[in-house]
Symmetry: none
Subunit: 534 residues, 2 copies
């Protein structure tokens, strides 16, 4: 039996772009569209042509760099009340975008027609019908998105159904039920989708478009498919307005791996993690480590006994094989680490150690010693990798640090504070003394270090700090307690985390900055055997 | 008709603490427990006594600072194979913790018994039964958590049911079905819960414990309640191992506001947003702005027409009233809704403000301005109190700070680093310039400030720093991003938290140290109306 096929419809570039804090350049949109095309998503909603110049250019540009398999879709609303579709100038840029498919959204909820559009219920039906017929007359194929469907249907099912029938009669090839406010629960979704199919028959397939306001967007998408929907709309990583849209990474993985539907080919599914991280890099939002299926922590295991059990029989501790979505099992290093944890972890970095090798014992001892001092390698794989290399005598010394000085002054108002840092670094046996200013001591140190290194190592320019966390370790000691700094860096492709510990927060930060830069150089040098910790 | 009651069971302090990157001090655990108690959660799982010294101390400490309504619960596994419960030393610290309730977890899945525990299926049943009977003989009440329930039940339902029956027969008062791997889907959960109730009857109520590996934890918790479960286990903000646990903020809001169950009183439900943010501050993880119900973006509206439609008829654009969970609508233009929050918060400090008082508006404006700069007052009540007093013209200037200088040097090895700070402070119009050394810049500043103040204010000597947390606010700006420092101080009786924000971490720390000392003086002066923030 072949698996029932579902059509995945991505709206990262349109609805996803409504996400607070997310803004996409034209180039970003093109990069994401091509990545989605490679992933095998059949429909990619590109934007609302005419809403802004960027969306117009996006569709033009795609004609020069066409997608290989996906349909790019233009999005717009029904014509405005009281005119014909051909006379509504709003619809002309949609046609000019030149897509084969158009997604048209219209009102399902009587209240939104009378209060939002200030028009009659009849006119709304005519708007849906006219607009679809007009686009059809121009040779376009139509997906109809029924906005506020679930709320409208609950309060006035007969009118809501009329809007769908108007769209179907006019020639829409898909009818998408939208939970625009995100307030519906899965058991309601399954039931309402089933009722719609009972009412309209199966001649026009249904889609589902959900929002995450109740933390139910993915569950609702799956619930709709169980009720009979065959198109799933959502965004990569669930980006979207307010609490976001249905996260396609989770929806696809659940539907295909748990319920046996076919969304993507298996090799495409294995690109899901990479796609998630690629999109988060392009939109410049920190990836959610705890994301289902594709997150960095999704298959992370702690604790000695548990870890050896996982390795013996992974499927009793993991709900899917991480490789199926292109993710990987991660053994987390913590103060309870036994030798088997350390060896498993080292293997992730391509370092094969034997239990009986004295180096293994040495690494474990150093690890325990450093953890006792307050270092934490659970989230600092890059520092762990450097530590293993050092114990094996394989740590490459790109440079040696020889101390720093930092001077901060503040004259009374906070705007007046500034910092000056001086560092001394030796590269190839040659000392370099450099100074730099910054608006804080860590940025001044970072700047001085880069100045000292960039001529010898131009790759340093591509590395930058992504996140910085500080924790007091022994709070009883007051302000002289030890502090631990975790610092996350990126070179645009990889992310890695380093750790520093000291009673002096500047010193702890400095250690983490130095190792962060060192690891960036190591990654660049070993580009062929890149160790991706993100 | 009265709403059907559900029992909420929080495991933020135990299962939530498994979250990667989250580590809780004893003090953090106590603060969170008291906040959950105020929220009205009836069961708070505190940890596994004996697993580490911190968990043992937590239960002791709670006896000195008891909760007002919640039951604190100790967590542990069944006795080990091949001995009696009374002879298993692992169980003694559980009894020593002195809780009325114990949550005991045991194996439901035959494979985990034979492969994980290396014992027989019969012995596993005996382990469940014995351990419960032993704890019951010591006067304890038992919640039984059936680990890996759903996977075990799917593969061997008759054995899985035997484990539940063993627990019920031995006297467990709740049976919790756990989706430990997080791989189950909502329609399966509803069905399996119904089957269990059909099999066991309703004499022992069921609980649900879900994980988010399929992005279904909240949906599964709701699905279980629809199937008949009456206890919901989860964590604040969904913190937990891998992809996290069921997010109680979303589960409670859905169950109470959408399905009409009673989890909390209405005024407690209105503390949900504050609780979510408080916990994220204490655990030092960035709050998820896009979180359902409690996120900063959850009720954010963009766009002019949409905004006026929202204001005319909010319930057609918002799935719930944001105030029901203590959140607020956010509109790009200035909104009024923050005022009542501010007034409510000020009342916590014994300051009664009227809505029409111009000072109220001024406080709100300053608060918004400061929050825009990155200040956060959710967990920094002392700074908030100082801000309110300042707006009312009632802030007492014990001293004025007039700038600082800090000099740090490190000669190569980390042990060599040291810091020298100079501060200028005016007391009663007299400038005092003092310098001090420290092993880090903040301790040097703290020492210099104390030197400058202690003669005039001997009470300063009793204040000291308890905890210090740093967060990068705008991680895109790299090392020059703004940092926020939260600093907790104590005088031996009270604890209070202050906040500082600056691009310069030293400056941000200095602000928090200065306000921390100022608040210590205020508390000492107003000893009769002490404000306890923990």
């Amino acid at each position: 039996m072949t698996a029932k096929r579902l059509s995945i419809y991505d709206t990262t570039l349109r609805d996803g772009a409504q996400c607070e804090g997310l803004s996409l350049s034209l180039e970003d949109k093109l990069r994401i569209a091509h990545q989605l095309d490679r992933l095998g998503v059949p429909f990619i909603e590109g934007g609302w042509p005419g809403a802004n110049p960027k969306d117009v250019k996006f569709f033009w540009q795609l004609k020069e760099q066409p997608l290989t398999q996906a349909e790019v879709v233009a999005f717009c609303s029904t014509r405005r009340p009281g005119r014909t579709a051909a006379d509504d100038p709003m619809l002309q840029p949609i046609l000019a975008a030149g897509t084969g498919w158009i997604t048209l959204f219209g009102k399902s909820w009587d209240l939104h027609v009378t209060e939002g559009l200030n028009t009659s219920l009849e006119e709304n039906l005519a708007m849906i019908q006219d607009t679809i017929e007009y686009f059809r007359s121009q040779g376009r194929r139509i997906i109809y998105d029924a906005e506020h469907w679930f709320d409208g249907y609950k309060l006035n099912p007969s009118y809501a159904l009329k809007t769908l029938k108007a769209a179907a009669d006019a020639g829409a090839e898909w009818l998408t039920l939208c939970d625009t406010n995100g307030g519906t629960l899965p058991h309601e979704v399954t039931q309402i989708v089933s009722e719609v199919i009972a009412e309209l028959g199966e001649s026009v397939p249904l889609g589902i478009h959900t929002h995450n306001d109740s933390e139910m967007a993915v569950a609702n998408a799956v619930a709709a498919v169980l009720g009979g929907a065959t198109m799933v709309q959502g965004t990569i990583n669930g980006y979207g307005e307010r609490c976001g849209n249905a996260n396609l990474c989770s929806a696809i993985a659940n539907l295909q791996l748990k319920l046996g539907y076919h969304c993507l080919d298996d090799d495409q599914l294995a690109q899901l993690t990479e796609t998630s991280r690629f999109v988060s890099e392009v939109v410049n939002l920190a990836p959610n480590d705890r994301a289902a299926f594709v997150g960095r922590s999704a298959f992370a295991h702690k604790g000695g006994i548990h870890v050896s059990a996982v390795q013996r029989n992974p499927l009793t501790y993991e709900h899917i094989r991480p490789e199926a979505v292109g993710n990987q099992r991660r053994i987390v290093i913590s103060d309870q680490s036994g030798l088997s944890n350390v060896l498993a972890k080292a293997r992730n970095f391509g370092i094969n150690l034997d239990k009986t090798d004295p180096a293994s014992r040495e690494i474990l001892d150093r690890l325990k010693g450093l953890e006792h001092e307050g270092y934490q390698f659970e989230a600092a794989e890059a520092s762990f990798d450097l530590l293993v290399r050092e114990a094996l005598g394989q740590r490459e010394r790109f440079f040696d640090v020889k101390g720093f000085q930092v001077h901060c002054t503040q004259a009374g108002g906070h705007e007046d504070s500034n910092a000056l840092a001086t560092v001394k670094v030796a590269v190839n046996g040659q000392d370099s003394l450099q100074a730099a200013e910054g608006n804080g001591p860590v940025s001044a140190l970072d700047a001085a270090l880069r100045k000292a290194l960039v001529n010898q190592f131009p790759a340093i320019a591509e590395c930058h700090l992504v996140d910085y966390k500080v924790r007091i370790l022994d709070s009883q000691s007051g302000t002289s307690a030890k502090t631990r700094v975790l610092l996350e860096s990126t070179n645009g492709h990889d992310r890695w985390t380093t750790v520093g510990v000291s009673a002096n927060i500047i010193d702890a930060s400095y250690q983490a900055v130095v190792e962060g830069l060192e690891y960036g150089l190591l990654l660049q040098k070993n580009a062929k055997k890149v160790i991706q910790t993100s």
